[in-house]
């Protein structure tokens, strides 16, 4: 490993690698992080300074907020505990919908991955529902399940199901034929093949599907609460925009983004634990 890395990096041929390389790489290594963090800080600072630099007309000020205001609002929401009830409502819709999607998507994906007939029969429905924005079903879902938790669960479920289902299916189908032959040559039965080859092979696909599903589930909570709910963070945000409380809207956006980041982080941890056998973490696709 260390050999190939030394060859790969651009070490000046004449100088010994261990003298030159580290010096050169200090800025090299922190440059991406520094520039990345810098641009975010710059954006926040400029945004914060706008009211000090230009005079904002009264009408526009109604729609304007600054990062410090948003941070203050966030702080009060958590300090007073006002955030917990709507956050709990949103989180339960998110959790139930995502959980249901996993419970249904995993076994169905394995089944479709292993059976050609089922695959062919399910394919038109998966294609259609995956391409269609699930928001189109929202009025129908609200009609059936009423305003509240279950409409939200269904919308989250429809959104999160397909990434999990499709990725599980791809992972199962892509199991290496050679490896299946290897374990069969040692007398493996169908269950051994699944245990030793198919499931370990599908795991990274499933984790990637889970990550996509989380993004879609958060989106699902937001839209379901905009149009089909009476409580939750999304409802809070719609009401706030009606009252021109722009800072509350941004605070809600940040909380949703945070929820999405925390969940993705958890999945990342899971992935790191499960993929020790893989060569280097690959760049995100």
């Amino acid at each position: 490993m260390s050999e190939t890395q030394a060859i790969g990096s651009n070490v000046v041929a004449a100088a010994p690698a261990d003298e030159l390389a580290p010096q050169k790489s200090v800025w090299r290594r922190i440059e991406p992080t520094a520039l990345g963090a810098g641009s975010i800080v710059l954006l926040l600072v400029v945004w914060e300074l706008i009211p000090h630099l230009v005079t904002v007309s009264a009408g526009t000020r109604l729609f304007f907020t600054t990062p410090s205001q948003v941070a203050g609002t966030l702080w009060t929401m958590f300090a007073t505990g006002a955030v917990w009830v709507p956050l709990g409502v949103s989180a339960s819709g998110f959790g139930l919908g995502l959980g249901l999607a996993i419970v249904v998507g995993l076994p169905l994906g394995v089944l479709i991955g292993r059976s050609k007939v089922l695959n062919a029969m399910f394919d038109p429905f998966i294609t259609a529902f995956n391409a269609t924005p699930r928001l189109v079903f929202l009025p129908l879902v609200v009609l059936w399940f009423g305003l509240g938790l279950w409409s939200k669960v269904v919308i989250v479920f429809i959104g999160a199901l397909f990434p999990i289902l499709i990725n599980t299916y791809e992972g199962v189908r892509n199991a290496d034929k050679v490896l299946i032959n290897v374990v069969r040559s040692f007398g493996a039965k169908e269950w051994d093949i699944a245990r030793l080859v198919v499931i370990p092979n599908a795991t990274p696909y499933i984790v990637a599907g889970l990550r996509l599903a989380i993004g879609r589930a958060v989106l699902g909570v937001v839209v379901a609460e905009f149009f089909g709910s009476e409580a939750g963070l999304g409802v809070m945000m719609v009401q706030a925009s009606g009252r021109y409380q722009v800072d509350v809207v941004f605070a809600g956006l940040i909380i949703f983004a945070g929820l999405s980041l925390v969940m993705t982080g958890l999945v990342q941890l899971l992935e790191n634990r499960l993929s020790r056998w893989r060569p280097q973490p690959q760049g995100e696709g």
């Binding site: 050679v178 490896l179 069969r184 493996a188 056998w277 893989r278």
Partner: protein, 256 residues
């Protein structure tokens, strides 16, 4: 008396969905003697690998008889093991755990498994790499693992499907020497499929040349070169003589 492994008039046609069928083997015959190292050479797609898979019990032929020690082969069994061209290591398992795969499927207790795998790891020269994952190994090391895995279940016959084809030329030469050493030590019957005439002569007691598809036996050559063989032997007149003869048998079958 029947040969150790015997194949008579084996026929197989592949029928891939949505495509025209392909005849892979047609009237294939072979006799393998116990303890010998027999190489099979032939043009690409002549069905030589397919035949190994039939011997292994993974593919059933359409017709013909295949037996080992007089008993028909009907599926995979612990008396045969394969070394695969693409190594076929489970990427999520360590070297040791890959070697123990066959024993695990046989239900051998963990302690015995570890003992066997430790011995084999020494034998193929992988000491210190027990806990490595396949992606951390070079091609030659990967195939050592493949070899050790095949030997772990102590089979009577080792089937080798172009095992060194994915290796660079130098590693390949070294692995051939290694293989002869292991063959001397373990004394298994070995069937070795390869594209390289050099490799076939250097390793084998006999070399079988196959025709192009649909494949069957064309000619068999006895390699009467003395053992133990060393690298210098490859430049002797006897070696080159054999090489030329086999090349003549093979060249009419090759179409570019």
């Amino acid at each position: 008396m029947a040969a150790y492994i015997e194949a008579r008039n084996v026929n197989l046609t592949f029928r891939p969905p949505n495509r025209a069928p392909v005849r892979a083997l047609y009237g294939f015959d072979i006799d393998v003697r116990e303890g010998e190292l027999l190489s099979i050479v032939g043009p690409s797609g002549c069905g030589k690998s397919t035949f190994l898979n039939i011997l292994l019990g993974l593919i059933k032929p359409d017709s013909g008889q295949i037996s080992m020690r007089g008993k028909a082969i009907s599926g995979p069994g612990p008396d045969r093991a394969m070394v695969f061209q693409e190594f076929g290591l489970l990427p999520w398992r360590t070297v040791q755990s890959n070697i123990e795969l066959g024993l695990e499927l046989k239900g051998v207790p963990a302690e015995t498994r570890h003992k066997v795998s430790r011995e084999l790891i020494e034998m193929v020269g992988l000491g210190g790499f027990e806990a490595h994952y396949p992606h951390e190994l070079s091609g030659g090391m990967k195939q050592r693992v493949g070899l050790a895995r095949a030997l772990a279940t102590d089979p009577d016959v080792l089937l080798m499907d172009e095992p060194f084809a994915a290796l660079d030329a130098q590693t390949r030469d070294l692995m051939q020497v290694e293989l002869l050493r292991i063959w001397n030590q373990a004394r298994k019957t070995m069937l070795f499929v390869t594209h390289q005439i050099d490799e076939a002569i250097y390793l084998s007691d006999r070399v079988l040349v196959m025709t192009k598809r649909p494949g069957h036996a064309k000619k068999i050559f006895d390699i009467a070169l003395p053992r133990p063989r060393d690298y210098e032997m490859r430049v002797t007149p006897e070696f080159n003589e054999l090489k030329l003869e086999i090349w003549h048998a093979l060249k009419d079958e090759i179409t570019v």
